[in-house]
Symmetry: C2
Subunit: 652 residues, 2 copies
């Protein structure tokens, strides 16, 4: 699945098969609001306006009254939570609540006589529709990471005025830029108060789903050993404390999982790790009693979620705390006294969890076999249903693909909202079919399906494109160009430590050669029964090739080039790959990618005339592997489908 920072998918219907199968885990899925995206937004506009416009006006009015009482000239409401997560629990969707704009990224600024929402081009059409009648202006920015709203604010504010933003959801880097811009204008920045609490009377509380253990054999390193490794690294960095806010780092470190947001098996918490013990700050009642006892045996004690800041405040002059400035909010950073020495570095767990060990790799391989077999089941069903003339829609596909995965062992949940887009819908990289607007699969064209699963033994993410009816020569050419991109990067060897963003252009080169490009990164890191988007690596031209993006052994990444013809069709082919040592030469160790994903790439969409012999050999070899690895896990129609779709091709 393509990376989109802070993108939140809403699940509309929970198929029984998607309910969790592991122990006491219960998925906590929020009530599903309308979720209008892209081409679907227009049909939803009226609905959205009815739902939101009047409340939005009243809420803005209430906010301005509160601002007046507190003598605040401007309020900033970002799309962020105290953990700087991609998926925000409802409690921290204040910007959605206040503005009516449902997009995952956007910053709202409200002054006495102005309200504006800063959003990038992906959201303009949606935002224009959703903001209509609210009095909130859409402020167009180039990229979601842009800080243009800060310049705007600095330009509008007068010396002596006060700007308020909740420091508990403000990333430190953004906070520093904001502080510096306002200081220059002698404008006060107030970060200690969450003004939404004044007016959001039915604000959702913290998520309550229980936390559970990620157990052996799937958890391959004990909590004690992970803590020992972390403490070793803390010692190397001269720190006796380490504070962690990022929920995937916490889940990894303590071998714990949760269900506080959709798709990512994480829970809301902070952690403070000392030389001898560690404290997990979680909402009361989330950790079952037996689990608390087990944690205590590893020196992990529990404390209330909201006490993290006061624990930080208790550190003293003899303490040195390791902090990741990209992964902590201003509010928590400010809780630390000036007398405490701070060591700034990326969380050691961010590196550790990205480098899967050999046993994790084995579990991922087994998971990929199950996931691929589920896809054989699904595709066999789909082809049969289509040829039988059954009415299949993009929503049916979502249901069936989730159901197929859910029948497999160790399945927990989808790893993101399925993207099933037929023809023109496939040209929208972040398309999501809704009840209100979705296509029926009929006629001729290309069907793009991007889906994935969370399993106890790994996280999957795969995109395939299948032909429906007749496929045109132009469609075949696009499909083959994308495949050439996949093959080019999948076959690349590169020195250990190569900065991952620099590999992006290797997948693009064969696509560029045809005068085509795609507007997203080539690949993202993938977790191990963890976030489907994780760092520190990023095979994306937009990422800066800084030291922390270096490729290391055991990292899992997606390779997913695409071609999108707006209004016509889209092609994306996505495999997950793992960094493995290829050889060691006098120039040092070289890595190669092991392709983890096991599922046929539909050869009916190929234009063999533009595939080089070495590319065809790669494809045949891949299909031989897919057949061999999946055959033991499929039966009946799925088996027949697998055999047919993995037939070796001869050169033309």
């Amino acid at each position: 699945m393509l990376l989109r920072t802070s993108f939140r998918y809403h699940v509309h219907k929970i198929h029984p098969a998607m309910l969790p199968r592991c122990g006491a885990l219960t998925l906590c899925l929020p009530p599903a609001p309308a979720n209008p995206f892209f081409c679907t937004y227009i049909m939803d506009t009226l609905h959205t306006q009815l739902l939101h416009s009047s409340p939005v006006i009243a809420r803005l009015q209430a906010l301005r009254t509160a601002m007046q009482e507190r003598q605040i000239a401007a309020v900033i409401v970002p799309s962020s939570d105290p953990h700087l997560s991609e998926y925000l629990p409802q409690r921290w969707q204040g910007r959605v609540w206040l503005s009516g704009f449902q997009g995952s990224m956007g910053t709202l600024i409200v002054t006495e006589n102005f309200a504006g929402l800063w959003a990038d081009s992906r959201y303009w059409t949606q935002a224009e529709a959703e903001l209509a009648g609210s009095g909130i202006a859409l402020m167009k920015i180039k990229s979601g990471a842009s800080l243009e709203h800060i310049d705007w604010l600095a330009g509008k504010m007068q010396a002596g005025q006060t700007v308020a933003v909740d420091g508990h959801v403000l990333g430190l880097a953004t906070a520093r830029a904001l502080q510096s811009a306002l200081d220059a204008k002698q404008v006060q920045l107030q970060t200690g108060v969450d003004i939404l609490n004044d007016i959001w009377l039915d604000r959702p509380s913290l998520p309550t789903p229980p936390i559970y253990e990620h157990l052996p054999p799937h958890a391959t390193v004990s909590r004690a050993d992970k803590l020992a490794s972390l403490r070793q690294r803390m010692q190397e960095l001269g720190a006796n404390w380490h504070f962690i806010s990022t929920v995937d780092d916490i889940g990894y470190l303590f071998n714990l999982r949760g269900a506080d947001v959709n798709y990512n098996p994480v829970f809301v918490a902070h952690a403070l790790v000392g030389v001898n013990g560690a404290t997990l700050f979680v909402q009361d009642g989330k950790v079952p009693h037996e689990l608390a006892t087990i944690l205590a045996q590893d020196g992990v004690q529990l404390a209330p979620y909201l006490e993290a800041a006061s624990a930080l405040a208790q550190l003293g002059a003899s303490d040195r705390i390791l902090l990741d400035p990209r992964r902590i909010t201003l509010g928590l950073r400010q809780a630390i006294g000036n007398e405490v020495a701070v060591v700034e570095a990326i969380n050691p767990t961010t590196f550790a969890k990205s480098q899967k060990n050999a046993r994790e790799a084995d579990h991922v391989r087994a998971t990929m076999e199950q996931d691929g077999a589920a896809l054989c089941d699904f595709f066999a069903w789909l082809e049969q249903a289509l040829s039988a003339g059954s009415p299949i829609t993009e929503l049916t596909i979502d249901e069936q693909i989730c159901a197929a995965r859910a029948r497999r062992p160790h399945f927990v949940s989808p790893s993101f909202g399925t993207i099933a887009g037929f023809n023109a819908n496939g040209a929208l990289p972040h398309y999501r079919a809704t009840e209100h607007a979705h296509a029926v699969i009929k006629g001729d064209g290309l069907l793009l399906i991007d889906s994935g699963g969370q399993y106890l033994g790994g996280t999957t993410d795969i995109t395939r494109v299948m032909p429906v009816g007749q496929v045109s020569a132009a469609q075949k050419r696009d499909f083959t160009l994308v495949l050439k991109g996949v093959i080019a990067l999948s076959s690349t060897r590169f020195p250990l430590g190569t900065k991952s963003p620099l590999l992006d252009s290797i997948a693009r080169a064969p696509i560029w050669a045809a005068g085509v490009d795609y507007g997203h990164g080539t690949g993202h890191g993938v977790g191990y029964f963890m976030n489907v988007h994780e760092g520190p690596q990023s095979i994306a031209a937009s990422a800066m090739p800084e030291a922390h993006t270096a490729m290391e052994v055991g990292m899992i990444s997606s390779i997913e080039p695409g071609i999108y013809r707006p209004g016509r069709w889209g092609v994306r082919i996505e495999n997950l790959v793992m960094n493995q040592v290829a050889e060691e030469t006098e120039f040092g160790p070289f890595l190669q990618f092991e392709t983890l994903t096991l599922c046929p790439i539909d050869t009916r969409c190929l234009d063999l005339s533009i595939l080089r012999p070495d590319e065809l050999a790669w494809l045949n070899s891949y299909h031989a592997t897919v057949r061999e690895r999946l055959l033991p896990h499929v039966d009946g129609a799925a088996k027949a489908w697998l055999l047919q779709r993995t037939e070796a091709l001869a050169a033309v």
Copy 2:
């Protein structure tokens, strides 16, 4: 030629043919000091010590006395000048004078009881030899751009102490880092005084060579039109003034050239451009009277070099000045009053001069024909001389290649010091043969020659490798791998605006595939009768792919991958290429490279078994072009050599 920031080559002998041929220009070449590099340093050590050690000790003593008088605890002496140039005039080689270390990059810090030189790995062996006996410690750092010395200094200084550095040679970015580190320790930073003036009694004065015009037809845009374009850009950015310190920007803007440093045809100056007029701050006597009159007609007045700061100080509250924070020193930045609005952006001329227009492109093509023909003359002579058993050394090669170029029309000077390295010497990417140490070309192996010329109609830079005697299979394999890298990148199409650093890996991929890598960037920008290294583009993995690195039409870059086997041999193949529009599709404009360099790539070094058919076709096509374009410009032995070396190859 590989980019090495601030690397200075010394010319040892001036061949008569290298003397300038254009008008009144006189090359001002400094007396040639010993210049020991890399494998040659050991032989020079004794020499260096005799030359430098005693003076160094006396100079450090004098510096410490001056520091005591001025109550300065530490002095920083960087390798930099007021123009942040790659090649420093002698006047600003204070670090060399004070430390005895001749390397082009290194920072000296002197305290009451410590002196250290911070240098990266390229210089360690050289620095150890040259610093021996001086009492100066070698402080090893990872890269030349590292600011580790700042951390060191901040760690050693006590609150209340004063650190001095000459702000007039300190880049603004470095200055900001230094200020921030010292502020945190309450250490004073004194940047107003150049303490070297207290003790360097025979400090060289400013260079005196006259400035001359770059005239039509080679200058294709008039000074008035360039100033008008710049003022248009200033208006867009809301500035009524623009200050320029970088000497290539100044030379480009005013169609002026000089000879204040080796190789780059530039002169030392600052420029202040207003809405109606412009002032060029240059040393008295450098601009001939007639030229001053011509400049005045374009509204360009002259002012003494040292008055730039006071001109900046005269700006007032109604002024808005455009400045490039990467291209101005702290000293000049500080001259601007706080009431003046400052617009920070890259110098518009940096972009303008990088995008060569169609007429400049035509001149470059003509220049490449002359340069290629000169190389035919040279290689024909070399092969004949070697087969006749004449004693040829790496130094002879330097002489002869410069002489061959000097016989060509519009030649001005070499564009950098020739790198001619036989076998093991070729494995040193920045090798420079010296009188003291150089190889004789005999026996078997590979001879690497990297050379270039400054012509009125363009700047050339080319690397070729030729076989001497028998070439081994391993050498042929390396040569062919490097050629595959050249072909891969030369054949790439890419969207207009692609960030140039992202293209680096396309040249590397075929070399990585064999478990090999090279430790330098793949390519650098090249000027038009201007610096052989220019920005803003950089096809280098180490460069951050920021917005200003975008590829635009008309940019000239080198493509120069290599393979270096320490102690054995080196291969590098370098062509210059120009960005041209390939096609415009629904995805926007795409660029392709036009290969500008015209000179055979020696097919005797090829391992045809690892060249793909499309790669062989590229090579044959290139050679057909080289033959067609150079044939009109060569005669006799050179013509025979050209015909032989451009024979088409059949696939094996």
